[in-house]
Protein backbone atom coordinates (compact mmCIF):
# COMPACT_ATOMS: atom_id res chain seq x y z
CA UNK A 1 0.00 0.00 0.00
CA UNK A 2 1.14 3.57 -0.73
CA UNK A 3 0.45 6.33 1.78
CA UNK A 4 0.02 10.07 1.29
CA UNK A 5 0.21 12.67 4.02
CA UNK A 6 2.05 15.65 5.50
CA UNK A 7 0.23 17.97 3.10
CA UNK A 8 1.47 21.56 3.09
CA UNK A 9 0.57 24.80 1.27
CA UNK A 10 2.25 28.21 1.05
CA UNK A 11 0.20 30.75 -0.86
CA UNK A 12 -1.79 33.98 -0.69
CA UNK A 13 -4.16 32.50 1.90
CA UNK A 14 -1.50 31.44 4.36
CA UNK A 15 1.96 30.21 5.21
CA UNK A 16 0.97 26.66 6.12
CA UNK A 17 -1.80 24.11 5.66
CA UNK A 18 -3.66 25.18 8.82
CA UNK A 19 -3.90 28.82 7.73
CA UNK A 20 -4.87 27.81 4.21
CA UNK A 21 -7.53 25.35 5.28
CA UNK A 22 -8.96 27.79 7.81
CA UNK A 23 -9.31 30.41 5.05
CA UNK A 24 -10.96 27.91 2.72
CA UNK A 25 -13.35 26.78 5.48
CA UNK A 26 -14.31 30.40 6.00
CA UNK A 27 -14.81 30.72 2.23
CA UNK A 28 -12.23 33.49 1.97
CA UNK A 29 -10.49 34.04 -1.35
CA UNK A 30 -6.84 34.80 -2.05
CA UNK A 31 -7.81 36.73 -5.19
CA UNK A 32 -7.36 40.51 -5.12
CA UNK A 33 -7.26 43.23 -7.75
CA UNK A 34 -3.67 43.98 -8.80
CA UNK A 35 -3.31 47.51 -10.12
CA UNK A 36 -1.85 47.99 -13.60
CA UNK A 37 -0.73 44.34 -13.77
CA UNK A 38 -2.07 43.62 -17.26
CA UNK A 39 -0.40 43.94 -20.64
CA UNK A 40 -2.26 47.17 -21.36
CA UNK A 41 -1.63 48.39 -17.84
CA UNK A 42 -5.14 47.41 -16.79
CA UNK A 43 -6.04 46.15 -13.32
CA UNK A 44 -6.20 42.35 -13.14
CA UNK A 45 -7.53 39.98 -10.50
CA UNK A 46 -4.73 37.72 -9.29
CA UNK A 47 -4.14 35.36 -6.37
CA UNK A 48 -0.66 36.64 -5.62
CA UNK A 49 1.49 36.22 -2.49
CA UNK A 50 1.79 39.96 -1.92
CA UNK A 51 3.66 39.55 1.39
CA UNK A 52 6.60 37.90 -0.34
CA UNK A 53 9.17 40.22 -1.89
CA UNK A 54 12.24 38.07 -2.40
CA UNK A 55 14.72 37.45 -5.17
CA UNK A 56 14.29 34.06 -6.85
CA UNK A 57 10.81 33.52 -5.45
CA UNK A 58 10.47 30.09 -7.08
CA UNK A 59 13.59 28.78 -5.32
CA UNK A 60 12.56 30.45 -2.07
CA UNK A 61 9.17 28.70 -2.12
CA UNK A 62 10.64 25.27 -2.93
CA UNK A 63 13.06 25.56 0.00
CA UNK A 64 10.40 26.99 2.32
CA UNK A 65 7.90 24.21 1.67
CA UNK A 66 10.48 21.41 1.94
CA UNK A 67 11.69 22.91 5.20
CA UNK A 68 8.10 22.82 6.50
CA UNK A 69 7.68 19.24 5.29
CA UNK A 70 10.86 18.21 7.10
CA UNK A 71 9.18 19.16 10.36
CA UNK A 72 6.14 16.96 9.65
CA UNK A 73 7.94 13.69 9.06
CA UNK A 74 11.14 12.16 10.36
CA UNK A 75 13.49 14.72 8.75
CA UNK A 76 16.23 12.15 8.08
CA UNK A 77 14.02 10.73 5.30
CA UNK A 78 14.46 13.86 3.18
CA UNK A 79 18.14 13.14 2.56
CA UNK A 80 17.78 9.36 2.44
CA UNK A 81 19.04 7.53 -0.68
CA UNK A 82 15.59 5.87 -0.78
CA UNK A 83 13.80 9.23 -1.18
CA UNK A 84 13.07 11.11 -4.41
CA UNK A 85 11.88 14.70 -4.68
CA UNK A 86 9.46 15.25 -7.56
CA UNK A 87 8.93 18.87 -8.61
CA UNK A 88 5.82 19.82 -10.57
CA UNK A 89 5.93 23.14 -12.41
CA UNK A 90 4.99 24.60 -15.78
CA UNK A 91 7.39 27.53 -15.97
CA UNK A 92 9.77 27.26 -13.00
CA UNK A 93 11.81 30.44 -12.66
CA UNK A 94 11.81 31.67 -16.24
CA UNK A 95 12.60 35.24 -15.17
CA UNK A 96 15.89 34.00 -13.71
CA UNK A 97 17.08 32.04 -16.76
CA UNK A 98 14.60 31.60 -19.59
CA UNK A 99 16.85 28.98 -21.27
CA UNK A 100 17.19 26.92 -18.12
CA UNK A 101 14.08 27.52 -16.02
CA UNK A 102 14.34 24.70 -13.46
CA UNK A 103 17.94 23.61 -12.97
CA UNK A 104 19.33 26.52 -10.84
CA UNK A 105 16.46 26.33 -8.34
CA UNK A 106 16.42 22.53 -8.22
CA UNK A 107 20.20 22.46 -7.73
CA UNK A 108 19.89 24.92 -4.82
CA UNK A 109 17.22 22.70 -3.26
CA UNK A 110 19.41 19.62 -3.74
CA UNK A 111 22.40 21.26 -2.08
CA UNK A 112 20.43 22.83 0.75
CA UNK A 113 18.81 19.54 1.81
CA UNK A 114 21.72 17.28 0.79
CA UNK A 115 19.42 15.25 -1.44
CA UNK A 116 20.93 11.95 -2.59
CA UNK A 117 18.91 11.59 -5.79
CA UNK A 118 18.50 13.97 -8.68
CA UNK A 119 14.97 15.45 -8.30
CA UNK A 120 12.55 14.65 -11.11
CA UNK A 121 10.89 17.71 -12.69
CA UNK A 122 7.50 16.98 -14.27
CA UNK A 123 6.39 19.77 -16.63
CA UNK A 124 3.15 18.70 -18.24
CA UNK A 125 0.98 21.85 -18.29
CA UNK A 126 -1.87 21.95 -15.79
CA UNK A 127 -1.86 18.21 -15.04
CA UNK A 128 1.75 18.41 -13.78
CA UNK A 129 0.71 18.16 -10.12
CA UNK A 130 -1.57 15.13 -10.42
CA UNK A 131 0.89 13.50 -12.82
CA UNK A 132 3.79 14.12 -10.41
CA UNK A 133 1.90 12.45 -7.55
CA UNK A 134 1.11 9.52 -9.83
CA UNK A 135 4.76 9.31 -10.93
CA UNK A 136 5.96 9.30 -7.31
CA UNK A 137 3.43 6.62 -6.46
CA UNK A 138 4.54 4.51 -9.45
CA UNK A 139 8.23 4.85 -8.53
CA UNK A 140 7.53 3.74 -4.97
CA UNK A 141 5.27 0.86 -5.97
CA UNK A 142 7.96 -0.36 -8.37
CA UNK A 143 10.43 -0.39 -5.48
CA UNK A 144 12.73 2.28 -6.91
CA UNK A 145 12.29 4.43 -3.79
CA UNK A 146 10.60 4.14 -0.40
CA UNK A 147 9.52 7.77 -0.05
CA UNK A 148 8.83 10.82 -2.18
CA UNK A 149 8.14 14.47 -1.52
CA UNK A 150 6.10 15.92 -4.37
CA UNK A 151 6.35 19.71 -4.58
CA UNK A 152 4.21 21.78 -6.92
CA UNK A 153 5.17 25.39 -7.53
CA UNK A 154 4.50 28.15 -10.03
CA UNK A 155 4.80 31.91 -9.62
CA UNK A 156 2.91 34.64 -11.46
CA UNK A 157 4.93 36.27 -14.24
CA UNK A 158 4.20 38.82 -16.98
CA UNK A 159 5.01 36.01 -19.39
CA UNK A 160 2.16 33.77 -18.29
CA UNK A 161 -0.34 36.56 -17.57
CA UNK A 162 0.22 38.27 -20.95
CA UNK A 163 0.02 34.88 -22.64
CA UNK A 164 -3.38 34.05 -21.16
CA UNK A 165 -4.50 37.61 -21.93
CA UNK A 166 -3.48 37.09 -25.57
CA UNK A 167 -5.82 34.07 -25.63
CA UNK A 168 -8.63 36.16 -24.08
CA UNK A 169 -8.70 33.56 -21.31
CA UNK A 170 -8.38 35.88 -18.27
CA UNK A 171 -11.55 36.73 -16.35
CA UNK A 172 -12.26 40.39 -15.61
CA UNK A 173 -13.84 39.39 -12.29
CA UNK A 174 -12.52 36.72 -9.87
CA UNK A 175 -12.99 33.40 -11.66
CA UNK A 176 -16.32 31.54 -11.29
CA UNK A 177 -15.77 27.85 -12.04
CA UNK A 178 -18.76 26.00 -13.55
CA UNK A 179 -20.99 29.08 -13.16
CA UNK A 180 -23.18 30.36 -15.97
CA UNK A 181 -21.38 33.72 -15.97
CA UNK A 182 -17.84 32.26 -15.94
CA UNK A 183 -15.56 34.00 -18.35
CA UNK A 184 -12.01 32.78 -17.88
CA UNK A 185 -9.29 32.02 -15.39
CA UNK A 186 -7.77 34.01 -12.56
CA UNK A 187 -4.05 33.32 -12.29
CA UNK A 188 -2.66 32.33 -8.92
CA UNK A 189 0.70 31.42 -7.42
CA UNK A 190 1.84 29.22 -4.62
CA UNK A 191 3.71 26.16 -3.53
CA UNK A 192 2.33 22.95 -2.11
CA UNK A 193 3.74 19.58 -1.15
CA UNK A 194 2.69 16.10 -0.10
CA UNK A 195 4.72 13.15 1.14
CA UNK A 196 4.21 9.70 -0.38
CA UNK A 197 5.66 6.61 1.23
CA UNK A 198 5.38 2.85 1.51
CA UNK A 199 5.78 3.25 5.29
CA UNK A 200 3.02 4.90 7.29
CA UNK A 201 5.25 5.19 10.35
CA UNK A 202 7.20 8.13 8.92
CA UNK A 203 4.19 10.44 9.26
CA UNK A 204 3.51 12.37 12.47
CA UNK A 205 -0.18 12.68 11.54
CA UNK A 206 -1.86 9.56 10.16
CA UNK A 207 -1.69 9.47 6.37
CA UNK A 208 -4.31 8.40 3.81
CA UNK A 209 -4.09 5.71 1.14
CA UNK A 210 -3.00 6.85 -2.33
CA UNK A 211 -4.40 4.64 -5.07
CA UNK A 212 -2.46 4.56 -8.35
CA UNK A 213 -3.71 7.04 -10.93
CA UNK A 214 -3.45 7.37 -14.69
CA UNK A 215 -3.23 9.95 -17.48
CA UNK A 216 -4.79 10.12 -20.94
CA UNK A 217 -4.60 12.42 -23.94
CA UNK A 218 -7.61 13.82 -25.82
CA UNK A 219 -5.83 13.40 -29.19
CA UNK A 220 -7.94 16.34 -30.28
CA UNK A 221 -6.40 19.83 -30.00
CA UNK A 222 -3.30 21.35 -28.38
CA UNK A 223 -5.06 24.27 -26.70
CA UNK A 224 -8.79 23.54 -26.89
CA UNK A 225 -10.57 21.06 -24.62
CA UNK A 226 -12.20 18.03 -26.25
CA UNK A 227 -15.91 18.46 -26.95
CA UNK A 228 -16.57 14.94 -25.70
CA UNK A 229 -14.27 15.05 -22.67
CA UNK A 230 -12.57 11.98 -24.12
CA UNK A 231 -9.22 12.11 -22.32
CA UNK A 232 -10.71 13.04 -18.95
CA UNK A 233 -13.33 10.30 -19.33
CA UNK A 234 -10.65 7.77 -20.21
CA UNK A 235 -8.26 8.62 -17.36
CA UNK A 236 -11.06 8.48 -14.76
CA UNK A 237 -12.30 5.18 -16.19
CA UNK A 238 -8.81 3.65 -16.18
CA UNK A 239 -8.04 4.88 -12.66
CA UNK A 240 -11.27 3.43 -11.27
CA UNK A 241 -10.87 0.15 -13.17
CA UNK A 242 -7.31 -0.48 -12.12
CA UNK A 243 -8.26 0.07 -8.49
CA UNK A 244 -11.42 -2.05 -8.82
CA UNK A 245 -13.69 0.72 -7.64
CA UNK A 246 -16.82 2.15 -9.22
CA UNK A 247 -18.25 5.66 -9.55
CA UNK A 248 -20.59 4.86 -6.62
CA UNK A 249 -17.58 4.48 -4.33
CA UNK A 250 -16.50 8.10 -4.86
CA UNK A 251 -17.71 10.48 -2.15
CA UNK A 252 -16.32 13.69 -3.63
CA UNK A 253 -14.63 14.98 -6.78
CA UNK A 254 -11.98 17.68 -6.63
CA UNK A 255 -12.40 18.90 -10.21
CA UNK A 256 -9.99 21.04 -12.22
CA UNK A 257 -12.61 23.73 -13.01
CA UNK A 258 -10.55 26.56 -14.47
CA UNK A 259 -13.64 28.69 -15.20
CA UNK A 260 -13.02 28.99 -18.92
CA UNK A 261 -16.22 28.38 -20.86
CA UNK A 262 -14.88 25.37 -22.75
CA UNK A 263 -12.87 23.66 -20.02
CA UNK A 264 -15.70 23.48 -17.50
CA UNK A 265 -18.12 22.32 -20.19
CA UNK A 266 -15.69 19.57 -21.17
CA UNK A 267 -15.35 18.42 -17.54
CA UNK A 268 -19.14 18.36 -17.07
CA UNK A 269 -19.50 16.14 -20.16
CA UNK A 270 -16.78 13.75 -18.98
CA UNK A 271 -18.22 13.43 -15.44
CA UNK A 272 -21.69 12.92 -16.90
CA UNK A 273 -20.39 10.19 -19.21
CA UNK A 274 -18.87 8.51 -16.14
CA UNK A 275 -22.26 8.64 -14.32
CA UNK A 276 -20.67 10.93 -11.76
CA UNK A 277 -23.00 13.91 -12.14
CA UNK A 278 -24.55 13.36 -8.71
CA UNK A 279 -21.29 13.14 -6.77
CA UNK A 280 -20.48 16.28 -4.73
CA UNK A 281 -17.84 18.27 -6.60
CA UNK A 282 -15.95 21.52 -6.28
CA UNK A 283 -13.27 23.58 -7.94
CA UNK A 284 -10.87 25.40 -5.63
CA UNK A 285 -9.80 27.96 -8.27
CA UNK A 286 -12.11 30.55 -6.66
CA UNK A 287 -9.86 30.44 -3.57
CA UNK A 288 -6.36 30.01 -4.99
CA UNK A 289 -6.75 31.09 -8.61
CA UNK A 290 -5.18 28.81 -11.20
CA UNK A 291 -1.73 27.98 -9.86
CA UNK A 292 -0.83 25.86 -12.94
CA UNK A 293 1.86 23.34 -11.93
CA UNK A 294 1.05 23.79 -8.24
CA UNK A 295 -2.71 23.36 -8.68
CA UNK A 296 -2.86 19.55 -8.67
CA UNK A 297 -0.84 19.31 -5.44
CA UNK A 298 -2.57 22.21 -3.72
CA UNK A 299 -6.05 20.89 -4.54
CA UNK A 300 -5.04 17.38 -3.46
CA UNK A 301 -3.74 18.85 -0.17
CA UNK A 302 -7.03 20.68 0.47
CA UNK A 303 -9.01 17.55 -0.46
CA UNK A 304 -6.97 15.59 2.10
CA UNK A 305 -7.88 18.19 4.72
CA UNK A 306 -11.53 17.92 3.69
CA UNK A 307 -11.31 14.15 4.24
CA UNK A 308 -9.65 14.61 7.63
CA UNK A 309 -12.47 16.99 8.66
CA UNK A 310 -15.27 15.15 6.80
CA UNK A 311 -16.24 18.52 5.39
CA UNK A 312 -17.34 19.43 1.89
CA UNK A 313 -16.04 22.87 0.95
CA UNK A 314 -18.12 25.28 -1.07
CA UNK A 315 -17.10 25.80 -4.70
CA UNK A 316 -16.42 29.54 -4.46
CA UNK A 317 -17.80 31.68 -7.29
CA UNK A 318 -20.51 29.22 -8.31
CA UNK A 319 -24.18 30.12 -8.10
CA UNK A 320 -25.99 29.00 -11.25
CA UNK A 321 -25.38 25.99 -13.47
CA UNK A 322 -23.55 26.94 -16.63
CA UNK A 323 -22.76 23.64 -18.30
CA UNK A 324 -24.86 21.49 -20.63
CA UNK A 325 -24.72 18.62 -18.13
CA UNK A 326 -25.68 19.40 -14.55
CA UNK A 327 -23.20 18.58 -11.82
CA UNK A 328 -23.65 18.36 -8.05
CA UNK A 329 -21.55 21.41 -7.24
CA UNK A 330 -21.14 22.15 -3.55
CA UNK A 331 -22.75 25.53 -2.85
CA UNK A 332 -22.28 25.60 0.94
CA UNK A 333 -19.82 23.93 3.30
CA UNK A 334 -21.39 20.74 4.56
CA UNK A 335 -20.40 17.90 6.88
CA UNK A 336 -20.21 14.65 4.95
CA UNK A 337 -18.35 11.37 5.32
CA UNK A 338 -15.52 11.59 2.79
CA UNK A 339 -13.88 8.17 2.60
CA UNK A 340 -12.85 8.01 -1.05
CA UNK A 341 -12.19 11.01 -3.26
CA UNK A 342 -11.25 11.54 -6.91
CA UNK A 343 -8.89 14.31 -8.02
CA UNK A 344 -8.73 15.25 -11.71
CA UNK A 345 -6.80 17.70 -13.86
CA UNK A 346 -6.77 18.67 -17.53
CA UNK A 347 -4.43 20.89 -19.49
CA UNK A 348 -3.00 22.27 -22.72
CA UNK A 349 -1.57 19.62 -24.96
CA UNK A 350 -4.84 17.69 -24.51
CA UNK A 351 -3.60 16.04 -21.33
CA UNK A 352 -5.74 14.74 -18.47
CA UNK A 353 -4.90 12.91 -15.25
CA UNK A 354 -6.67 11.48 -12.22
CA UNK A 355 -5.98 9.84 -8.88
CA UNK A 356 -7.95 8.42 -5.96
CA UNK A 357 -7.31 8.85 -2.24
CA UNK A 358 -8.99 6.73 0.39
CA UNK A 359 -9.10 6.79 4.18
CA UNK A 360 -7.20 3.99 5.87
Amino acid sequence: MTFIGAEEIVGPLGQNIQENFMAVRENRTGITLANHAGFNNEDINLAKITSLEVKNKFEYLLVDVLDKISRKIDASFISSPKTIIVVSSTKGDLDRDISNPFEPSVRALTERFELKNQPLVVSNACISGVLAINAASNLIRAGAYDHAVVIGCDVISDFVLFGFQSLFAVSALPCRPFDKSRNGITLGEGCSAVVISNNKEIFETAPLELMPGTSANDANHISGPSRTGEGLYRTIKRTLEQNHISAQDIDFISAHGTATVFNDEMEAIAFDRMDMADIPLNSLKGYFGHTLGAAGIMETAVSMQMMRHDLLIKSLGYSESGTSKNLNITTENKSSGLNTILKTASGFGGCNASLVIRKL
Binding site: I98, F159, S215
Partner: protein
Protein backbone atom coordinates in the same frame (compact mmCIF):
# COMPACT_ATOMS: atom_id res chain seq x y z
CA UNK B 1 11.57 -8.31 -21.22
CA UNK B 2 11.37 -5.01 -23.11
CA UNK B 3 13.14 -4.12 -26.36
CA UNK B 4 14.05 -1.04 -28.36
CA UNK B 5 12.53 -1.91 -31.72
CA UNK B 6 13.64 1.21 -33.60
CA UNK B 7 15.38 4.49 -32.90
CA UNK B 8 15.66 7.79 -34.73
CA UNK B 9 18.40 10.30 -34.13
CA UNK B 10 18.32 13.86 -35.45
CA UNK B 11 21.39 16.04 -35.05
CA UNK B 12 22.15 19.45 -36.56
CA UNK B 13 23.35 17.79 -39.77
CA UNK B 14 21.98 14.26 -40.02
CA UNK B 15 18.93 12.16 -39.53
CA UNK B 16 19.60 8.49 -38.72
CA UNK B 17 17.35 5.47 -38.35
CA UNK B 18 18.86 2.62 -36.36
CA UNK B 19 22.31 4.09 -36.98
CA UNK B 20 21.86 4.47 -40.74
CA UNK B 21 21.89 7.97 -42.26
CA UNK B 22 18.61 8.63 -44.07
CA UNK B 23 18.95 12.38 -44.59
CA UNK B 24 21.81 14.86 -44.57
CA UNK B 25 21.42 18.61 -44.23
CA UNK B 26 21.90 20.61 -47.42
CA UNK B 27 23.84 23.60 -46.15
CA UNK B 28 23.15 26.00 -49.01
CA UNK B 29 19.42 25.27 -49.18
CA UNK B 30 17.06 28.22 -48.57
CA UNK B 31 14.98 25.85 -46.43
CA UNK B 32 15.54 25.16 -42.77
CA UNK B 33 16.86 21.76 -41.74
CA UNK B 34 13.50 20.65 -40.29
CA UNK B 35 11.68 21.78 -43.43
CA UNK B 36 14.14 19.78 -45.52
CA UNK B 37 13.31 16.72 -43.42
CA UNK B 38 9.57 17.33 -43.70
CA UNK B 39 9.85 17.52 -47.49
CA UNK B 40 12.06 14.45 -47.56
CA UNK B 41 9.31 12.53 -45.77
CA UNK B 42 6.86 13.62 -48.51
CA UNK B 43 3.92 13.98 -46.11
CA UNK B 44 0.70 15.93 -46.44
CA UNK B 45 0.36 17.43 -42.97
CA UNK B 46 0.21 21.23 -43.29
CA UNK B 47 -0.14 21.55 -39.52
CA UNK B 48 3.60 20.88 -39.42
CA UNK B 49 4.20 24.49 -40.44
CA UNK B 50 2.25 25.79 -37.44
CA UNK B 51 4.31 23.79 -34.95
CA UNK B 52 7.23 25.17 -33.00
CA UNK B 53 10.71 23.61 -33.27
CA UNK B 54 10.18 21.29 -30.30
CA UNK B 55 6.97 19.86 -31.72
CA UNK B 56 8.50 19.65 -35.20
CA UNK B 57 11.43 17.69 -33.77
CA UNK B 58 9.16 15.14 -32.08
CA UNK B 59 6.91 14.96 -35.13
CA UNK B 60 9.78 14.38 -37.60
CA UNK B 61 11.44 11.71 -35.48
CA UNK B 62 8.14 9.88 -34.97
CA UNK B 63 7.33 10.02 -38.70
CA UNK B 64 10.75 8.61 -39.65
CA UNK B 65 10.16 5.81 -37.14
CA UNK B 66 6.73 5.08 -38.62
CA UNK B 67 8.24 5.04 -42.12
CA UNK B 68 10.79 2.47 -40.99
CA UNK B 69 8.23 0.47 -39.03
CA UNK B 70 4.76 1.15 -40.49
CA UNK B 71 2.93 -1.52 -38.43
CA UNK B 72 3.94 -0.02 -35.08
CA UNK B 73 1.00 2.30 -34.34
CA UNK B 74 -1.70 -0.11 -35.55
CA UNK B 75 -0.27 -3.04 -33.62
CA UNK B 76 -1.75 -1.54 -30.46
CA UNK B 77 -5.09 -0.31 -29.15
CA UNK B 78 -5.40 3.49 -29.08
CA UNK B 79 -4.55 3.75 -25.37
CA UNK B 80 -1.71 1.23 -25.19
CA UNK B 81 1.16 3.40 -26.47
CA UNK B 82 2.61 5.69 -23.78
CA UNK B 83 4.51 8.89 -24.61
CA UNK B 84 7.52 9.57 -22.37
CA UNK B 85 9.71 12.52 -23.34
CA UNK B 86 12.24 14.80 -21.70
CA UNK B 87 14.78 17.52 -22.35
CA UNK B 88 16.92 20.02 -20.48
CA UNK B 89 15.57 23.37 -21.69
CA UNK B 90 11.81 22.77 -21.53
CA UNK B 91 10.09 24.95 -24.17
CA UNK B 92 12.79 27.67 -23.97
CA UNK B 93 13.20 27.96 -27.75
CA UNK B 94 9.60 29.21 -28.06
CA UNK B 95 9.56 30.92 -24.65
CA UNK B 96 12.27 33.28 -25.90
CA UNK B 97 10.25 34.07 -29.03
CA UNK B 98 7.07 34.64 -27.05
CA UNK B 99 8.89 36.98 -24.65
CA UNK B 100 10.21 38.93 -27.66
CA UNK B 101 6.66 39.21 -28.98
CA UNK B 102 5.42 41.18 -25.99
CA UNK B 103 8.63 42.93 -24.98
CA UNK B 104 10.04 43.98 -28.36
CA UNK B 105 7.06 43.78 -30.67
CA UNK B 106 4.49 44.98 -28.12
CA UNK B 107 2.01 42.29 -29.02
CA UNK B 108 1.94 38.97 -27.11
CA UNK B 109 1.46 36.30 -29.75
CA UNK B 110 -1.22 33.70 -28.90
CA UNK B 111 0.07 31.31 -31.57
CA UNK B 112 3.49 31.33 -29.87
CA UNK B 113 2.07 31.22 -26.33
CA UNK B 114 0.26 27.92 -26.90
CA UNK B 115 3.65 26.30 -27.59
CA UNK B 116 5.29 27.60 -24.39
CA UNK B 117 4.82 24.28 -22.59
CA UNK B 118 7.12 21.33 -23.29
CA UNK B 119 4.31 18.75 -23.30
CA UNK B 120 2.58 20.34 -26.32
CA UNK B 121 4.64 18.01 -28.52
CA UNK B 122 2.93 15.08 -26.78
CA UNK B 123 -0.40 16.59 -27.80
CA UNK B 124 0.82 16.91 -31.40
CA UNK B 125 1.94 13.26 -31.46
CA UNK B 126 -1.34 12.15 -29.85
CA UNK B 127 -3.40 14.08 -32.42
CA UNK B 128 -1.37 12.85 -35.39
CA UNK B 129 -1.49 9.20 -34.34
CA UNK B 130 -4.77 9.13 -32.37
CA UNK B 131 -3.09 8.10 -29.14
CA UNK B 132 -5.14 8.28 -25.93
CA UNK B 133 -2.57 6.67 -23.64
CA UNK B 134 -0.26 7.82 -20.85
CA UNK B 135 1.75 11.05 -21.28
CA UNK B 136 4.69 12.50 -19.42
CA UNK B 137 7.19 15.24 -20.13
CA UNK B 138 10.10 15.60 -17.69
CA UNK B 139 12.83 18.22 -17.54
CA UNK B 140 16.23 16.80 -16.57
CA UNK B 141 19.72 18.36 -16.35
CA UNK B 142 21.04 16.04 -19.07
CA UNK B 143 20.09 12.99 -21.14
CA UNK B 144 19.34 10.40 -18.47
CA UNK B 145 19.00 6.82 -19.78
CA UNK B 146 18.45 5.63 -16.20
CA UNK B 147 15.29 7.75 -16.00
CA UNK B 148 13.90 6.44 -19.29
CA UNK B 149 14.70 2.87 -18.32
CA UNK B 150 13.17 3.17 -14.87
CA UNK B 151 10.02 5.05 -15.78
CA UNK B 152 9.62 3.33 -19.16
CA UNK B 153 9.64 -0.08 -17.49
CA UNK B 154 7.10 1.17 -14.95
CA UNK B 155 4.76 2.32 -17.73
CA UNK B 156 5.16 -1.04 -19.47
CA UNK B 157 4.23 -2.87 -16.29
CA UNK B 158 1.21 -0.73 -15.41
CA UNK B 159 -1.01 -1.02 -18.48
CA UNK B 160 0.92 0.46 -21.41
CA UNK B 161 2.15 -2.07 -23.97
CA UNK B 162 4.57 0.11 -25.94
CA UNK B 163 6.45 3.38 -25.61
CA UNK B 164 7.30 6.18 -27.92
CA UNK B 165 9.99 7.88 -25.88
CA UNK B 166 12.98 10.10 -26.13
CA UNK B 167 15.02 13.21 -25.70
CA UNK B 168 14.07 16.41 -27.54
CA UNK B 169 16.91 18.90 -27.12
CA UNK B 170 16.01 21.93 -29.23
CA UNK B 171 17.23 25.44 -28.46
CA UNK B 172 18.41 28.28 -30.64
CA UNK B 173 19.43 26.13 -33.62
CA UNK B 174 20.96 23.39 -31.46
CA UNK B 175 19.40 19.99 -32.21
CA UNK B 176 19.92 16.91 -30.03
CA UNK B 177 17.05 14.52 -30.70
CA UNK B 178 16.79 10.82 -30.03
CA UNK B 179 13.44 9.04 -30.14
CA UNK B 180 12.92 5.32 -29.70
CA UNK B 181 10.12 2.78 -29.76
CA UNK B 182 10.04 0.25 -26.95
CA UNK B 183 7.94 -2.90 -27.00
CA UNK B 184 7.51 -6.00 -24.90
CA UNK B 185 8.49 -9.52 -25.86
CA UNK B 186 10.00 -8.82 -29.27
CA UNK B 187 12.77 -11.25 -30.15
CA UNK B 188 15.98 -10.47 -31.98
CA UNK B 189 15.92 -6.79 -31.11
CA UNK B 190 18.00 -4.55 -28.88
CA UNK B 191 17.16 -5.01 -25.19
CA UNK B 192 15.75 -1.84 -23.59
CA UNK B 193 18.86 -0.95 -21.58
CA UNK B 194 20.84 2.15 -20.66
CA UNK B 195 23.66 0.95 -22.89
CA UNK B 196 21.43 0.64 -25.95
CA UNK B 197 19.77 4.00 -25.29
CA UNK B 198 23.20 5.61 -25.11
CA UNK B 199 24.04 3.90 -28.39
CA UNK B 200 20.94 5.41 -30.02
CA UNK B 201 21.74 8.76 -28.48
CA UNK B 202 25.36 8.84 -29.64
CA UNK B 203 24.83 7.81 -33.27
CA UNK B 204 26.58 10.52 -35.25
CA UNK B 205 27.74 8.59 -38.30
Amino acid sequence: MNFITSCCRITEKNCLINGRIVAHKIEDSPESWFKQLYKHLALEYPKFYKMDMLSQAGFLASEYLKKEYPEFINSYADDEIALLFANQESSADTDIRFKDSYRDHKSPSPSLFVYTLPNIVLGELAIRNKLYGENMFAVLPKFAPDFFLQYGNILLSTGSKALMAGWLGVLDGKVEVSVFLVERDKDNRMPFSEENMIKCFSDQA
